[in-house]
């Protein structure tokens, strides 16, 4: 995979802004005290549940449930599965879904294929991201036009196409 970060040269904006700095009122997605580390030479297949922050530098296949805590997939980490957490930081290879009550951060080293549901997201320029992103948002009232049905048919989720687009 080509690294878009190297490809992009700033032309007209002298000082690129940090994307994450623009998202207010969301807890910072940074490690706090107490964490478990799955190191580079460890490989896990199965589910993980707990009440502590988790850093994955190795490989992991399965579901990770750490409500109220943070999951970080480091630059050398490879995860296939699902993350349910407060915050998530993806810097490595991730295929699957993330459901975060808070913030998801995708760094420029990341290779992400999957779905993200979160309160907010920050993505660094140049990350590989084939994703469906759904942010928590205020319910907006749309006044239907006269003569038009008030509701539209339910849209089916598109998940099959995500699998087709996996990149290694």
């Amino acid at each position: 995979m080509l690294n878009m970060r190297k490809m992009m040269k700033q032309e007209e904006a002298p000082e690129p802004k940090s994307v994450s700095s623009q998202i207010p009122a969301v807890p910072a997605a940074e490690p706090v005290d107490g964490k478990t580390v799955i190191s580079e030479k460890i490989s896990i297949e199965g589910d993980i549940r707990g009440q502590e922050n988790l850093v994955i530098e190795g490989s992991m296949k399965g579901k990770i449930e750490l409500e109220n805590h943070q999951v970080k997939v480091g630059p050398k980490g490879r995860v296939e599965g699902q993350i349910v957490s407060e915050n998530a930081i993806i810097s490595g290879h991730f295929i699957g879904n993330i459901y975060a009550a808070g913030k998801v951060k995708i760094t420029k080293e990341a290779n992400f294929s999957g779905e993200i549901k979160a309160k907010s997201i920050s993505v660094e320029d140049g990350a590989y991201l084939k994703a469906i992103i759904e942010l928590e948002r205020e319910v907006k009232k749309v006044i239907p036009a006269i003569g038009k049905a008030a509701s539209e048919p339910e849209k089916d989720p598109v998940k099959h196409q995500m699998a087709a687009g996996k990149k290694n």
Binding site: L2, M4, E12, A13, Y128, E134, K140, K155, V158, Q161
Partner: protein, 200 residues
């Protein structure tokens, strides 16, 4: 008589000129926010600001970097259609498609095929945004656009992408998109052309 104080030269360096506000960006934002639970497809390179901008307006934002896929196809001497296979979305699915300046890097046959696919996956009354480089002063290398200040496009060079350039006059772009209706087209002071199309 001129005022002396006014005639003094200001020695402070002028701030870098911001690109003008994009009118098509405002127009597509207005259109999308009028839709209920809009689904948006972004086919441009990954820029955090673009993702944040449209994710805030979408029920779901689908991101897929077709620029990089085209580059990989070119490097492997594969046809552009190889990259299009990733656009396997349901028919009449999206309320908005962001094509950016992709058609600047597709030959006419491939650009027509992409327009056909985009029409297929866009809902009736859905909109498609297209940008095109300045026809008279095109860059020597591919560029992409990132949104700044919620209203402006900043161009960024994609110096390492191997994408051939096919810069076209507006009438050829309209011809490629003849299965859509042009809502508005604009040209910025930088010469960047902006188009918003409607799918019937």
């Amino acid at each position: 008589m001129p005022n002396v104080s006014q005639a003094q030269v200001d020695s402070t360096p002028a701030p870098p000129e911001s690109p003008p506000e994009s009118r098509v960006l405002r127009l597509i934002s207005d259109r999308l926010t009028q839709r209920e639970n809009p689904l948006i497809l972004d086919l441009g390179p990954t820029f955090g600001d673009n993702i944040r901008f449209f994710a805030d307006k979408a029920k779901k934002l689908f991101t897929f970097d077709l620029f990089t896929c085209l580059d990989e196809a070119n490097r492997n001497r594969l046809p552009a259609k190889t990259a299009f296979r990733f656009l396997a979305y349901p028919s009449r699915y999206f309320d908005g498609v962001l094509l950016w300046n992709l058609i600047d890097h597709l030959n006419t046959t491939d650009a027509r095929e992409l327009a056909r696919i985009i029409r297929e996956i866009t809902r009736p009354e859905g909109v498609v945004m297209i940008l095109a480089q300045d026809l008279f002063k095109p860059r020597e290398y591919p560029i992409a656009f990132s949104i700044r200040d919620e209203s402006r496009f900043h161009s960024q060079s994609l110096t390492e992408l191997q994408l051939q350039a096919y810069y076209r006059p507006t009438r050829e772009i309209l011809d490629l998109m003849d299965s859509f209706v042009l809502i508005k087209s604009f040209i910025s002071r930088q010469g960047i052309r902006e188009y918003l199309f409607l799918r019937h």
